[in-house]
Point group: C2
Chain length 351, copies 2
């Protein structure tokens, strides 16, 4: 297992081809996923059923030669476990029954214990690992404290993506936000440790909304807490690679490179050559095809993949991925084309 | 007029204090604006009535010691003039009656002539200038070709801000998109020239959605066309300063610095010190307070303004602004506090 291309690339060791996995690879673009999702009745039913969650985790690996699986779950399982009452309204995204408005709401949060409240994720990981054996690595994940706080304070996914409620709390009541972030830092740590104990081979922290912040606020309200989590995990499991992904975080790359993470995810707004020049091989880099490219022709996909591979060059620490999750409108045939193309085209960079 | 602090800062000449104006300064946060807006009946009625447009343009200058006025209008007047039929649905943003799906739709666009179709903007500028005299500079503006194309192809403001329709066209049918962008480049040029002839003292190009692109696509589908427009304007009016603002364009700053623009607008995700190090005084810089800060206390506003002024330092080419338009929920009293604070605090940097 340790010699899988994915884990080697995370350690920046020589590989024979560039590994690839795809954010949201177990998702709505797959008809077999939609079938199970329908059987489950709701998205949360699917998340909380370990057998079904394991089943959809493995679906994309049956179709495509992906280099890793990622456990099927949602970043909002933690706020749900803390008592906010998560619901997914069809076509509207996540909505919480309660939201965080003040210090009282924070005090009322249920104490988080992953092996109790999120046993369903732990179990899904164990089942998935049993089926996978040593064939492919399994990735565990969590949202970042700041990103979880965004949803908990907004009370839902911000439709226009500006998350004005948490942004206002940041300026109006920074000490309240810090209290919430400290609690979430402990929760994310415990959650990722539980996932590692259950068998995942690497973990990833999704900081989906870190890019909404000023450099100063990013440092103090997002990166600071993620760095704590990395330290906590490395203390117990120094050999487990950690990937950190701040969407829209290209401008924060210098600081991210010093976070202690083994790998940094990049969206498509920064080219990998520039990123490598700033990063100076402090970490592996993951990314960064614009998901929209998968809606175009094979010729166009070829052209964009070729650009990314040439930017990544012959340095071994590159894991191919999209710059954000795959969208439901994508033809799975294009994904197969992409995965095979990355494997075949990348080989000569690693000779 | 040429000696106004705003125009001097655009030319990177020594000023006695940092000038400030605010994106969307004539807007819904002002009760006197909401009153006129109600009288007009609809947003488009207000835009197309030169007397009323001039009146709301001047409203914020009566309240605050702003260093420039910006003509009240909307970036979508060009697509409307081209026959797409613009409507603003309450609480839903702009919607077009027709949208651009293919080359036929582009051929069916009405030939754009600003002095005919957008005479109302030209007239509003003339009326405003008459009232302003030489007291304060007046800014004209347009959307960038890429940003206009985003709305024209999407057919509306993309609620989740990903503009998947134009992004897909970029990869699926780049030659069609290029045809549209070439037409819009001519239209934006003609529009800005008409505004200059009517009397504006500087112009600004809003590239609100350039930050959705990869560096390669940004270069070819947005910056390339904006550079053409700058050349066209500089050929006729070399003395009129041009500001270019790509929201989320911090990673593209090196290329932006070579665009020929006199000033670059920055959102709040990049600090001005870093920006100046990349920009190397090739242009003035405008920005970049997070608009959310205005919802917090005077102490907090003081702290954030202080940070920005110290990042900008003593270099004269800084125009203070928000990193994006002011939101309707802001108390006008906070705007007065901000404007006066920037003037008083910045003086010692310019001694």
């Amino acid at each position: 297992m340790k010699n899988s291309n994915y884990l080697k690339a995370l350690r920046q060791e020589k590989v024979s081809y560039t590994p690839i996995w795809i954010m949201r690879q177990a998702g709505r673009y797959l008809p077999e996923y939609r079938k199970i999702r329908e059987q489950a009745g709701s998205f949360m039913n699917l998340c909380t059923n370990p057998e079904l969650a394991a089943q959809v985790t493995l679906q994309p690996l049956e179709r495509f030669d992906l280099d890793a699986a990622i456990i099927f779950s949602d970043i909002l399982t933690i706020p749900d476990a803390m008592g906010l009452g998560l619901n997914f309204k069809e076509g509207e995204g996540p909505v919480f029954k309660h939201k965080i408005k003040n210090i009282e709401d924070i005090k009322n949060l249920i104490k988080f214990n992953p092996s109790e409240q999120l046993a369903y994720v732990v179990d899904a990981i164990k089942i998935t690992k049993k089926t996978l054996g040593n064939s492919k690595p399994l990735i565990g994940f969590s949202g970042s404290p700041w990103t979880l706080a965004c949803y908990m304070i907004q009370g839902e996914g911000s439709k226009n993506k500006d998350f004005s409620a948490p942004k206002k709390m940041l300026y109006q009541a920074p000490e309240v936000l810090h209290q919430l972030l400290a609690i979430l830092t402990q929760a994310v740590t415990d959650y990722l440790l539980a996932q590692i104990q259950a068998g995942v081979d690497s973990v990833m922290i999704f900081d989906t909304w870190g890019g909404l912040l000023t450099p100063h606020a990013y440092q103090h309200f997002s990166l600071f807490y993620m760095t704590q989590i990395i330290k906590n995990i490395k203390f117990k499991y120094p050999e487990i690679p950690i990937t950190l992904f701040t969407k829209g975080g290209g401008l924060f790359l210098e600081n991210l490179s010093n976070s202690g993470a083994d790998c940094l995810g990049l969206d498509w707004t920064m080219d990998l050559k520039t990123a490598r020049e700033i990063n100076l091989n402090r970490t592996a880099l993951q990314g960064n095809l614009d998901p929209c490219v998968l809606s175009s022709s094979e010729d166009q996909i070829h052209q964009e993949v070729s650009r990314i591979l040439s930017q990544a060059g012959s340095h071994p620490g590159h894991i191919f991925n999209l710059g954000h999750g795959i969208t439901p409108d994508i033809d799975p045939g294009k994904v197969k084309f992409l995965v095979d193309l990355v494997h075949s085209m990348s080989a000569h960079y690693h000779e």
